[in-house]
Subunit: 476 residues, 2 copies
């Protein structure tokens, strides 16, 4: 358990869902909690008897046992009496899925939000939101959507957007990430990014942290919390509203004052938190840390199957601030034994047919990884096949490629340099199925995976800069 | 027919594949030609009798009828005697899939390439390559891979890389592109990018042109051809080797001298050819032209379902040089009638639940498109559902969303502003299947589609700049 006041909030004895209904969509929170194995769930609705097999209570006061956490899914104008019930019941925390407060820009709704904040404080109830999805804590059976992994992991994510919270869980899970806690905290009237960062620092279950922040009243406090956290644990920071147009839309979204992009850039650099440009880049960074892709320098080998890919990849990697040094003579000689001459290259980038045929990929990768001129490898193993191949033949080739990777894994692990595997996504159903399967298999081997060479290169470059800055600041 | 010497080459009476074999992979060209409906195919191989039901000939001389085009799939050191046979047979053009020439950097292989070029010229045989995939001409039954569309279309693509030629065909086809001709021309010892650009200008079947170029001996001639072509038809240009590292790898790939990035940038600007950064951006531009996404200005509305998406999209759009103006009061009032207040925004970006529920999407889009403050719309209609939804329910919602789009289409067409639809790809099998299906349905309605908001915004920005420059240069 973390020594922090939020910790009990993440471990409630029972959860009530106020406004649960049996209409389509109305039981989402209830079904998500059931799916996560939440032990005690109380749906509350004066107009229903049973939801998904659970008895329904007309109000919070009618619930027999204790209730620690409440999910409010009722309209804003009905929240105040419910809050009184919660106070009487001894509720510790309330998550307002309910929206329609300050973010509307209307003064009566801002006033309502302020009354609720004030009253919750008097009642000693911590508030998440309003206007957010709330808590995903797989270890405690808490979730706000179906399809979230039920196993926990070392990543925490604090998202001032429900969509982004869903994105990190779903897209992150596909890339092998598992989570200690994900919190969607919306308008952040009480629990905010600064407090969540201090919690992440204290939480022994959290090793890597991502945050999506639109703004908050007290930037100084957040920057201080970020500095404390990033000094101990890796942090990827996505700031919504870096442009004027984006900043305007944060007001409609979470009533946030975004602050200037320059201030956030300076604060991130000072904290050595890695400022990224999108949720996909957030996931890339978390994958990089989680699967050991921090390089000891900027010298990268690119390994692809195809000349066009090798030229494009070289341009991408060089543009992103990494270098593609020559391989040593010994490496080139060994590769020449493995790689037939026609249509391939044993220079860096290495253009090898072993990525198409599958054979000799293990010795090819091992030879390159052992080269002293290199700090990391980027290997594109997934390619759009279009309709170019018989499905059975393509699957067989991919199985062979996977076996070679599997065979190379222990030796690559011993060499210890990051081997970033690139598997693009596709709108072609056959390619999507094939590459989706390969992705899960190589993640199980422990590889960091990316959807494009630029994404892999950008991540390695950021990880290298992060490592360097961190070493410079290390005490003594 | 185009009034250009290459035109007969693109319409051969018969094709011979020298080096066809019945080994796996050895019959690729033959099966691709059969699939495209090529009428007369002669496999040539002294050690085979039959390939895919076709009789095999021991050499070109043994073929009974005329042969116009030859695909060479034999090793480099066996090419010279075959070339003599082709000369005797009256062959008009030869495509060397065969690699292992100048691109190896070895002097004897460079000399061999030079002898072949010299002799082919004497024999009046035009050469594609060596070290390339050759010709895809759906109208003539020519192809170099299976799974290429058999129907033709208005896009030509000239690719100095086989991988990139495959990418534009497969990934482009998924985005609704169809092709007049795609040529992979490798080391470009004879037919080169300049001649292909002049052909594209003359070809009535070609309306839009893309090119991937690594380099060539005569840059002045290419720049002249590009200027002539781009004055008449839209051109997207991808240059391989814009960085030093990329330029080094063009030498291993197609033995090209890349030239400096600055020179290519200046030449593209002068020609008003749109210089892009990747094959995906090439496809984006071609989709933009083909599906009418050229805006009359830089003022864009973003329509998404989700606050995090709206903030991120605004930052992306503003960063890429477009603006997100306020909607008129009339538009906002009409949207307020359509959009419930909670958790949504009727400002620009418009965050609307109609993209989740599907209903009211038609009037929402029509209202926004009619706003005089706007030149174009970017609408994200595909979202990663993760495991959050029952498949049947998700499909039903998507069907409803599609019907609304279908209903809005005639009115949106009448308003005439580009409506760029964004459908991301995913590694999640269910999302991939769902979004892949939606993609094909909206393409059939005639919409330009993109895989991300930044991709759509970058394309609209480039299309707008292209339109403006073009108007400035228009005579009188």
């Amino acid at each position: 358990m973390a020594n922090h006041p939020l910790d009990p909030i993440f471990h409630p004895r029972a959860v009530a869902v106020v406004g649960a209904s049996s209409r389509p969509g109305g039981a989402n929170f209830v079904s998500a909690l059931i799916e996560q194995g939440c032990e005690t769930i109380y749906p509350v609705n004066p107009n229903a008897d049973e939801i998904l097999g659970l008895p329904v209570f007309p109000n919070l006061g009618a619930i027999p046992g204790p209730v620690d956490h409440v999910i409010s899914s009722i309209p804003a104008d009905r929240v105040e009496p419910m809050l009184e019930d919660a106070g009487a019941k001894g509720v510790r925390s309330m998550h307002f899925f309910t929206a329609g407060f300050a973010e509307t820009g209307e003064s009566d709704r801002l006033a309502l939000q302020q009354r609720i904040v004030h009253r919750a404080k008097e009642l000693n109830i911590r508030v998440f939101g309003p206007n957010c999805l709330g808590l995903y804590v797989p270890g405690s059976g808490l979730a706000f959507a179906s399809g979230c992994p039920t196993d926990a992991g070392p990543v925490a994510f604090w998202a001032q957007s429900g969509t982004n919270a869903n994105t990190v869980i779903y897209d992150g899970a596909l890339r092998g990430l598992r989570f200690s806690k994900v919190v969607s905290f919306g308008n952040a009237v009480d629990v905010n990014a600064a407090e969540l960062c201090r919690y992440a620092l204290a939480d022994p279950q959290t090793e890597f942290v991502g945050a999506y922040i639109e703004g908050l009243p007290d930037a100084r406090d957040l920057f201080q919390a970020l500095r404390e956290l990033a000094a101990e644990k890796p942090v990827a920071l996505l700031k919504g509203g870096m442009t004027d147009a984006g900043a305007r839309s944060t007001r409609s979204h979470t009533a946030s004052l975004a602050g200037s992009g320059a201030i956030w850039r300076a604060a991130a650099t000072q904290a050595n938190a890695v400022l990224v440009g999108s949720m996909q880049e957030s996931i890339d960074m978390l994958v990089g840390w989680r699967f050991g892709a921090v390089p000891q320098g900027e010298r990268v080998a690119l390994v692809v199957g195809g000349g066009g890919l090798s030229v494009q990849g070289s341009d991408d990697i060089a543009s992103l601030g990494l270098t593609l040094p020559d391989l040593t003579v010994a490496t080139a000689e060994r590769l020449r034994e493995l790689t037939p001459i026609a249509g391939t290259s044993i220079r860096n980038p290495v253009d090898t047919q072993s990525l198409w045929r599958g054979d000799d990929l293990a010795p090819t990768l091992e030879t390159i990884a052992a080269d002293d001129n290199l700090d990391a490898l980027i290997v594109q193993i997934g390619t759009s096949w279009g309709g170019a191949m018989d499905p059975g033949f393509a699957q067989k080739r991919q199985d062979r490629l996977f076996r070679e990777l599997q065979q190379a894994t222990p030796r690559l692990a011993k060499i210890g340099k990051p081997v970033a595997l690139v598997i693009p996504t596709s709108h072609d159903p056959f390619t999507a199925q094939l590459s989706g399967g390969l992705l899960q298999r190589v993640i199980a081997l422990g590889y960091p995976t990316f959807t494009s060479v630029p994404a892999a290169a950008r991540t390695l470059q950021r990880l290298n800069t992060w490592r360097r800055r961190r070493a410079e600041r290390a005490p003594g």
